[in-house]
Amino acid sequence: MFEAGELWPPIRLTLILASVTTILLLIVATPVAWWLSQSRVRWKEAVAAVVALPLVLPPTVLGFYLLLALGPNGPGGLLARLFGIRSLAFTFEGLVIGSILYSLPFVVQPIRNAFEAIGPRPLEVAATLRARPWDAFLTVAIPMARPGFITGTVLGFAHTVGEFGVVLMIGGNIPGETRVLSIAIYDYVESLQWTQAHILAGGMLAFSFVVIFAMITLEKRMGQARG
């Protein structure tokens, strides 16, 4: 009835997208989270709100604006021309950019909370022990915020795997380029290919359970190690 091989490309693409996105997210989110946790400027909560927007914004709205921004007439299009392509919309790169924005709050928030939970004291201690700010950040702040980084990584990865609306708006359905799992499932259902939809949906269900379960166990174990 169908070849199992046809299910693999969207899974592979999704995993690559989620991995690339998560790595880039950690690079982007760490300084943002640090700044939000340390800065005393009054407008920092406005920045926090912008970062958190994707939590409440319908993915189609975010996708719509991203489509404009990444399209040939937006800033993304200008950027794309430097690489000799017309637009970032409907490309894997565009998808990565969209995923980063969409999943940003899920990574920034836990890391920011973890930084805030450390409080000012350990960094003051480090300073009195001759550690310069960058040194103290790497040897005290980052290791002490480890639970936040783990939570952020897991949530960022899982959330990227599960996105649909944004992908639909800016990625479309190009096999091997933008046809990710959630799109593939939608596609199979639309064309009444229930078996394929069942396999992929069931897999996602199992994956989601494993992620959440692993996180709960991990948090519990770390809580015990600390207490």
């Binding site: 201690v125 009195t128 022990l129 001759r130 550690a131 480890r146």
Partner: protein
Amino acid sequence: MTRSESVITARFRGTRGGFEVDVAFEAPMRGITAIFGPSGSGKTTILRCVSGLDRLPGALTVGGDVWQNDQGVFRAPYDRPIGYVFQEPSLFPHLSVRRNLEYGRQRAVKAGISDQIRFDDVVRLMGIQPLLDRSTSGLSGGERQRVAIGRALLSQPRLLLMDEPLSSLDQKNKEEILPYFEALHDTLSIPIFYVSHDIAEIERLGDTLILLDMGRVLAFGPLAELLSDARLPIARRSDAATVVEAFVKAFDPNDGLTEMDVHGETLFVPGRITEVGKARRIRIAAADVSLSPEPPSRTSILNVVPALAKEIHEIDNAQVNVMLTIGHREGGPALLARISRRACQTLHFAPGQAIYAQVKAVSLVNRD
């Protein structure tokens, strides 16, 4: 050593969180300088300004090195050779005890400072050998604070700052840790700023005293001098006391008394104090000193010493403080007597008069 190399001079003036600070003081580059005052008097603020963690306009010179001045010099805390012991031990939870201890030492060595304060010596001094390879989470309060002190020492400081290091500990842990402070005082030549609101701790550990109130310095100078200064508010406290340096002369095993020499006069202290010739600090509460114009002929009070009345200060309409020096010669150590105003008037005590002080209780402030 020139004078500027042997002192710490500080001056800070400004507002911090609605609280006004205006202080200036000088302290020696040796021994323990106790910073004492009621809570909210600015003790911690001063310590934080000395460390560079907080910044108020002013100037700070430590042993000849300028750490801050009015010309814009301000060294960041990580550029100041300080050790800071906070109220709570604040050990790094992600590092073992050993790696906590090594944190500052490694950075000092990397900065080209020779580790004159050796790892093994500190571990021995603080008694933390058995803890080295443990995580910090299972340690008692006293153990944690000892590790924190060791960690501060190993960063090779020229000045050690301690902010009420005993206040987070219960009485048992306090008693356990105090001997380590005394060992620190006797072994290392690093000057220590010691913030406390507990006068007993200060009588026990301090050499120099800085008295604070409402963000201002009331007085600073040698501890014994300030404690016996009846003009200062600490002399008005009901637990006012003076400390004097005494030398062990002899022990009488029959009566269980140790004979101590203070400026040529003799005081008896109950209990056996080892090592004849050793200097010990003794504490005499002002309320335990009574005065008499002549040597009392028969009394149950063992310690009667000649003294010179120096100044008389009224506390209220019932009590006065009499500032004395021990011995009928000038130059003896200072003593404070709390007596009733009526007795003072009836017996016509006056400054300059040679009198006799009866001391009901003499206690050592530290043990062997």
